[in-house]
């Protein structure tokens, strides 16, 4: 293996990790705000990709407009998912919540299959061409994922630490009752968190679409993102980013050198980390703000 190959694999891995990270951030947002682990998050990502596909290729709208519409529609969907369904099970046992989110995941996947068909479709994005930098060939789509993730993380960091709504969301996740006493409409803000998480997932779906194709199997991506979040220490945003990058980065190399277990390395890494460091790489305790 030459250096350029290593760099290429590493860049592919990082971009993959960024994709996982976008989904994992959503997991963590929802978990911190409501203590619900949303196993339907991969499905939200899939839905996002399908929505963009619908706007762009079935309705024939301009790509960027379709992207915005797709992301917004997922925001509305996430908001309603909480306001109509999830809000009702607050306070139920984890088992019930788990079953509900898995059921939603299955329903969304079947629904998507019925509406858009079960065979993979490709989404044409304007950032498809390959770039060559000193012997390394890299797809623009990969670079777009990395840049998009950095931008989005910066935006989210700004939102949660600088804006009033962001601070109020932080407050609600730290002490719900005290937030209520401070006039914060906690229920509505939790729905907003769902909307944000769904929109971030939609961005992930949109950006991974050129790499993975759009189909119902895309939702499996969510499980790997979940593994990344666990590796990082569930509930911590920097942990989720780190865990996902780690998994994304390790995958192509492990697949390359030991192809026997291709595709399951994310889970193997999760198991190993859980054995060595059950609290995750960056546990949630006093480590971080957002």
């Amino acid at each position: 293996m030459e250096t350029s190959d290593v760099i290429q694999l590493a860049l592919i891995g990082i971009s993959q990790g960024c994709g996982y990270a976008l989904v994992a951030i959503g997991f963590v947002f929802i978990y911190r705000a409501t203590e619900i682990i949303n196993f339907a998050h991969g499905e939200l990502m899939m839905l996002g990709a399908f929505m963009v596909l619908t706007f762009a290729q079935i309705w024939g709208l301009n790509f960027w407009l379709s992207a915005c519409l797709g992301i917004l529609s997922l925001g509305v969907f996430g908001y309603l998912l909480d306001a109509v369904v999830m809000r009702r099970i607050v306070g139920e046992s984890q088992a019930i919540i788990f079953i509900l989110t898995v059921a939603i995941a299955l329903m969304l996947r079947s629904l998507a299959g019925i509406i858009w068909g079960w065979s993979p479709r490709s989404l044409d994005v304007p950032f498809m061409q390959d770039v060559q930098i000193g012997g390394i060939v890299l797809g623009m789509d990969r670079i777009a994922i990395i840049l998009g993730t950095i931008l989005l993380c910066a935006l989210l960091y700004w939102f949660f630490s600088r804006t009033r709504t962001g601070l109020a969301i932080q407050a609600s996740s730290q002490s719900q009752l005290a937030a209520y006493y401070s006039r914060i409409p906690v229920k509505r803000l939790i729905s907003v968190v769902w909307a944000i998480a769904a929109m971030v997932a939609a961005v992930a779906g949109l950006m991974m679409a050129p790499v993975t194709q759009v189909d119902t199997g895309m939702s499996a991506f969510g499980i790997k993102a979940f593994a990344g979040a666990v590796v990082g220490g569930f509930g911590s945003i920097p942990g989720a980013l780190l865990g996902c990058l780690l998994i994304g980065l390790a995958e192509p190399f492990l697949d390359f050198f030991f192809p026997a277990f291709k595709g399951v390395y994310a889970y193997i890494i999760m198991l190993v980390v859980l054995f060595i460091r059950p609290e995750g790489l960056i546990p949630q305790t006093f480590a971080k703000k957002v």
């Binding site: 009033r164 601070l167 109020a168 932080q170 407050a171 730290q174 002490s175 009752l177 005290a178 937030a179 209520y180 006493y181 401070s182 006039r183 914060i184 409409p185 906690v186 229920k187 006093f286 971080k288 703000k289």
Partner: protein
């Protein structure tokens, strides 16, 4: 004149268990009123029922002549009730300043908010020096100050204080109570104070209620309560001596 807060025959349940069995009390504007009682008497539940954290099954809560029972707590808070919860409950990962800012959530008057920051720092100079520290790293007393400051930032007309002396050294308790009295006097905020520390509470309060197992068993102006034999014995820890000089452990409370 009708009372600022008027609680009428409220009954609150935890599942099948009745925690408050028909409580009525009133707080006038600008007044400090205390509710005393032992653990489990239902004092905190009463405050939570007033601020909407728990729904009551019967009765009414009127604030400024409007019914507020069984509303969401954020709605009740917006009406002008600031609840300082038991155990402070500050936002641990946020700085002191951010905590206070959250206290002013939902207020549009930015200049007034800025002035209120100064007011809070003037009451609690400790908070000013720690304003960029995380609330979780503050001492218990400072957290209590922060919790009071946070509620004050909402500019309430009534503050509900749930055991502000809990776990604090006597000297610190005194400081906190002095500031409660100052906030009441200087800002005209009425206070409903729930306490186990009967002595400190009766010193600042105008009127007192005594709660036992979900009922109000006594209610009188503070000086009168302080003079009452039952209160002295059971809440102030003073004992009257029997004829043979021994404590009458088995003396019955007159309200039973």
């Amino acid at each position: 004149m009708s009372a600022l807060l008027d609680v009428r025959n409220v009954e609150t349940f935890y599942g099948p268990i009745m925690a408050i069995a028909g409580v009525s009390l009133a707080v006038n504007a600008g007044q400090i009123v205390t509710v005393l009682g032992a653990n489990g008497a239902g004092k905190s539940t009463l405050l939570k029922t007033i601020s909407g954290a728990i729904d009551c099954r019967k009765g009414q809560v009127l604030f400024e002549d409007k019914e507020i029972q069984n509303r969401d707590p954020d709605v009740v808070a917006a009406r002008g009730i600031g609840h300082v919860p038991e155990g402070r409950d500050v936002f641990p990962f946020m700085t002191v300043e951010e905590n206070l800012l959250i206290g002013a959530y939902g207020r549009g008057d930015r200049d007034a908010v800025k002035r209120d920051f100064e007011t809070v720092y003037q009451y609690f100079p400790d908070l000013k020096t720690k304003k960029h520290d995380r609330a979780g790293f503050l001492s218990g007393g400072q957290q209590q100050m922060l919790a009071i400051g946070r509620a004050f930032m909402g500019r309430p007309r009534l503050m509900l204080l749930d055991e502000p002396s809990l776990g604090l050294a006597p000297l610190l308790t005194q400081t906190i109570f002095q500031i409660i009295r100052r906030i009441n006097g200087e800002q005209g905020v009425a206070v409903l104070l729930v306490e186990q520390n009967a002595h400190a509470a009766l010193e600042v309060a105008e009127h007192g209620f005594i709660m036992e197992v979900g009922r109000i068993v006594m209610d009188a102006p503070s000086p009168e309560l302080m003079a009452s034999d039952d209160v002295k014995e059971f809440y102030l820890g003073q004992s009257s001596e029997g004829i043979r000089g021994e404590r009458r452990w088995k003396k019955r409370k007159t309200w039973r």
